[in-house]
């Protein structure tokens, strides 16, 4: 097994008396895209600031490629490209000179920068704006410049804090495509509160809430684990008043919700966990002489899972 590129153990960080994160541990393998998912203020940014070496954790430790971000900070920082949420840029510099400057800070030689600059500009599609002052660029282009500075030194670890926030839908699609591309060779950690983004981009997702990891899995497993076969949607041709009690009477059915959509009667059935009730339901419907127009398992959407994990109320 490959050793983890990022290894975080027991991270806890206090701002004054309040813990922003508590006992957060995780590992990220080489070439993996890990998503941090959580509501605002859950501790995503704090965790990322610790990984990148911007601030040390109150307790716990992080290693990047085996280097401790506090004890061997310079070595660890050499391996990181970081895009903070606010996309901080020097607004009075041109795109070219800004990228050159960031490259130099990341320890690249002028020669290496020259060789790499064109590539980064192409990848981030900044070709027409090389000489433009950053302050005059739109938000979407600034975001691209932000990503360009994060990848210019070809870091092994790329940390992106909310990389698609505040840009228009077309640019969101582009940015995601870019991240997916980068994730092929690099280890990427990104945070978001946009759920579809997670299923689209990430190999694995950590759901973080109130400073703690509440779930960790692939987006697919996460959805499957919480829904399994226990939720079904059935469309039945028959009088709702009669169908409803019949469905409720089937063994293993916990709950039935009925919706009438212009004469299309749909019933959402919540079964006891792990039970596959498809056969029982279809038999019940047919033996009563109604028509079974549709029967399907419905995945709980990532939204619902997320809400279930991050709110205290039952859905």
């Amino acid at each position: 097994m490959q050793p983890d590129m990022i290894q975080a153990e027991g991270l806890t960080h206090y701002y004054g008396p309040y813990p922003a994160i508590q006992d957060v541990s995780f590992g990220v393998r080489k070439g993996e895209i890990l998503g941090f998912l959580g509501p605002n203020g859950a501790g995503k940014t704090t965790t990322m600031r610790i990984i990148t070496g911007f601030m040390p954790p109150t307790h716990g430790k992080v290693t990047l490629d085996g280097y401790d971000v506090v004890e061997q900070s310079l070595e660890a920082r050499r391996r990181v490209g970081y895009l903070p949420e606010t996309v901080p840029l020097y607004t009075d510099m041109s795109v070219n000179s800004y990228l050159k400057y960031m490259g130099t800070l990341r320890g690249m030689s002028p020669k290496a920068i020259k060789a790499r600059l064109g590539e980064v500009i192409d990848v981030c599609r900044l070709g027409d704006y090389r000489k433009t002052q950053i302050g005059k660029l739109s938000k979407g282009f600034r975001q691209r410049v932000g990503i360009a500075q994060a990848i210019i030194h070809e870091p092994q670890v790329l940390v992106l804090d909310e990389p698609t926030i505040g840009i228009d839908p077309i640019q969101v699609v582009e940015t995601r495509r870019l991240i997916k591309e980068l994730g092929k060779d690099q280890t990427v950690v990104l945070s978001t509160h946009i759920l579809p983004e997670v299923s689209m981009l990430c190999d694995r997702v950590l759901i973080i809430n109130e400073g703690k990891i509440v779930a960790e899995d692939t987006p697919k497993n996460l959805a499957a684990g919480l829904q399994g076969v226990d939720r079904l949607e059935v469309e039945v041709g028959g009088p709702a008043a009669e169908v409803l009690p019949v469905l409720k009477a089937i063994r293993g059915v916990n709950e039935v919700a009925h919706t009438n959509n212009d004469g299309r009667h749909t019933y959402t059935i919540q079964a006891e966990s792990g039970q596959d009730l498809r056969d029982a339901i279809s038999q019940a419907v047919i033996s009563n002489g109604w028509s079974l127009r549709g029967l399907q398992m419905v995945g709980m959407s990532l939204e619902e899972i997320f809400l279930r994990l991050t709110t205290h109320e039952e859905l």
Binding site: G53, M55, R77, P88, L89, D92, M102, L105, G107
Partner: protein
Amino acid sequence: MRTVQAVAWKEIQIYFSSPTAYIVGLIFLALTGFFFTQDLGNPFPEATLVPFFDGAIIMFILLAPALTMRLLAEESKLGTIELLLTSPVRDWEIIIGKYVASLTFFLALVILSFFYAALLFVFADPDPGPIYAGYLGFILYGAAALSVGLLTSTMSSNQIVSAVVAMGILLAMFFADRAFGSVSGLAGEIIGEMGVRGHFDDFSRGVIDTTNIVYFLSVVVFFLFLSIRTLESRRWR
């Protein structure tokens, strides 16, 4: 070393393209020009730069913070400090780079003021000793004042706060020699010795005393050291 250079070069470019720096330069040259010519109206004017130096020192209490206030405060404000501190750059490299930039702009102003000295040498026969020594003292004083401003810029993300605090410290240093009379005992001696005036006046009289050079250099080292430590401490807050 390359990172120090890169940081310094970036800041120098900003100095030479920013209005603040040019306004500071304009005020400096306009007012020192006035101080310089004031004495020339006397029936028996003296070929000296002492009025120029005296005025320049006082003006730098206000102008040095104006030059340095942006250096780190703006990085904190824009959030670019986050990228700076997550790059493989040592804290001292950032501070020294920024300091070198402010010093460079200051030296450019000093060079422009050579004009006054040139006038004296062309139209009169001044004693060169006090002029050379005075310039040395003025450069040392400027270096010290800039290091004070750099420290306060490291402490706050607000440029105004940073500038005002620096002015406060520089004013205190300027008037510290009054402690000789008003504060009794050893404390008065110590505070008085920290005053700028006592150390500077020797220079403009043409006396180059190692004590005075050491005084200004110590101030620079002390404030740069504190700046590095303050930047470092940001990580722990």
